[in-house]
């Protein structure tokens, strides 16, 4: 269980990192926290010839709160984001999701961008980012671009990032409609801190009457990428999220997904689990919204 031999570089800036990636081509790989990549290297499933270590690039670290977005730089540690007041107040769904990411020791090293770039279909940060309609910022030697999250995940461990691109930040748009914001994140795993068998994430806004004015809902671990379930969102918009509404939405999710079986859970179990988790996440989000002052 040792990685194959490779070369190592520790650039001090985004520009320098992009230069190394451009020169290295397919053989170069970025290492951030390494909590996903290093196990893959140890198992020889990844054999990069060059590791570009971006851990000490100061401009890749930190959280900023703007008027329309919260921006997390890609090397921000998951533990730092979880402890961050801005994230708790302005991106509460992400804060809830982060509690389920690995465990304390991996969150201490693992990064926000690393989780996204590795695109594990069961990863919580990717699911929260999808539900929040995040934008991914990537730099390369030739420039920079923003990738809408809906186009970012392509398959298990596959993203729209080109080999020479470095994920530099994620921007979470703030929901500014009047009303009460509520969030719910539910997950089931074999052991706490283990990979999700399924997960569900919800963010919504209820008006003073308790009517749902905006909602986003997604499930993770039940497909090759995290999934937004638009039909369930449409079913709930304009309702007060009564039990019937929530039940219908869960059934829509049940029919919309087609999870694969594996060692840990059958396809049918995963599908029923995802529907239950959606119900629970919706109930949690509703409670959360109603507990806030209008």
């Amino acid at each position: 269980m040792k990685a194959v031999d490779f070369d190592y570089a520790r650039p001090a800036s985004i520009g320098e990192a992009c230069g190394l990636l451009a020169a290295g081509g397919d053989e170069a790989k970025i290492i951030a926290g390494g909590q996903t990549l290093v196990p893959l290297m140890a198992m020889r499933m990844a054999r990069p010839a060059l590791l570009v270590d971006i851990n000490r690039i100061a401009e890749l670290n930190g959280i900023e709160s703007g008027s329309d977005y919260v921006t997390l730089r890609s090397c921000t540690r998951q533990a730092a984001a979880l402890a961050d007041e801005t994230i708790r107040l302005r991106a509460p769904l992400l804060a809830k999701a982060l509690r389920f990411v690995g465990h304390g020791q991996t969150r201490n090293r693992g990064t926000i961008g690393g989780s996204l770039a590795n695109a594990d279909p069961a990863a919580e940060i990717g699911l929260a980012a999808l539900v929040l309609d995040a934008r991914i910022e990537a730099h390369s030697a030739t420039g920079r671009r923003q990738i809408p999250i809906a186009e970012f995940f392509i398959g298990p461990m596959m993203t729209a990032l080109a080999p020479e691109e470095c994920l530099t930040a994620i921007r979470l748009p703030l929901w500014q409609e009047p009303g009460r914001l509520g969030t719910g994140f539910q997950e089931t795993s074999a052991r706490r801190s283990d990979f999700a068998l399924a997960a569900a994430a919800v963010q919504l806004i209820l008006d003073t009457e308790g009517t749902c004015r905006r909602i986003a809902l997604g499930v993770g671990g039940v497909g090759s990428v995290p999934l937004r379930i638009d039909a369930a969102m449409e079913r709930l918009l304009g309702t007060r999220l009564d039990d019937d509404d929530i039940g219908d939405a869960a059934r829509i999710v049940y029919r919309a997904i087609d999870p694969a079986p594996d060692l840990h859970a059958s396809a049918d179990y995963r599908r029923r689990l995802a529907a239950s988790l959606v119900e629970r996440a919706l109930a949690e989000a509703k409670r959360d919204a109603l507990a806030r002052k209008a």
Partner: protein, 168 residues
Amino acid sequence: MSLHEITLTVNSAVHRGLVPARLSLVDFLREGLLLTGTHAGCEHGVCGACSILLDGVPMRSCLLFAVQADGCAITTVEGLAPGPEGLSVLQDSFWETHALQCGFCTPGMLIAAQALLQSTLTPSDEEIREAIGGNLCRCTGYKQIVDAVKLAADRLRGSNRAEGGVQP
């Protein structure tokens, strides 16, 4: 093979080394510095036996390459004891409550518990379980480990009252 010169502080002593990029930090500690207290179990981030403190923060040393720790300060299980003969309060509490059988997980458990006790001396059971949640033990069933951490916290609170500050 790419070789890299590194300088790092381990248990307060400065070490220099010339390491291949692929050398994991746990292998550097065990084979380079002969600090074999840190255990290599799964070597891919699952078991926690290799836990160390990097700049005071607990993490897996099998998921770090030694070259990445260049310039950092590391504490291993050898750094917890007050000296070669004695045990720290936390270690002694493990002994007292039978919190180890084969001992393979123990260095990682101690490091995880140490990090917790540095942040609070009044941890709840829930917080203790959370803190050791990334460390696998195949022997004890965890109960005695939780008991050990609680006992250590009790003792440390007591000694803090009496003496005004003791290390976990």
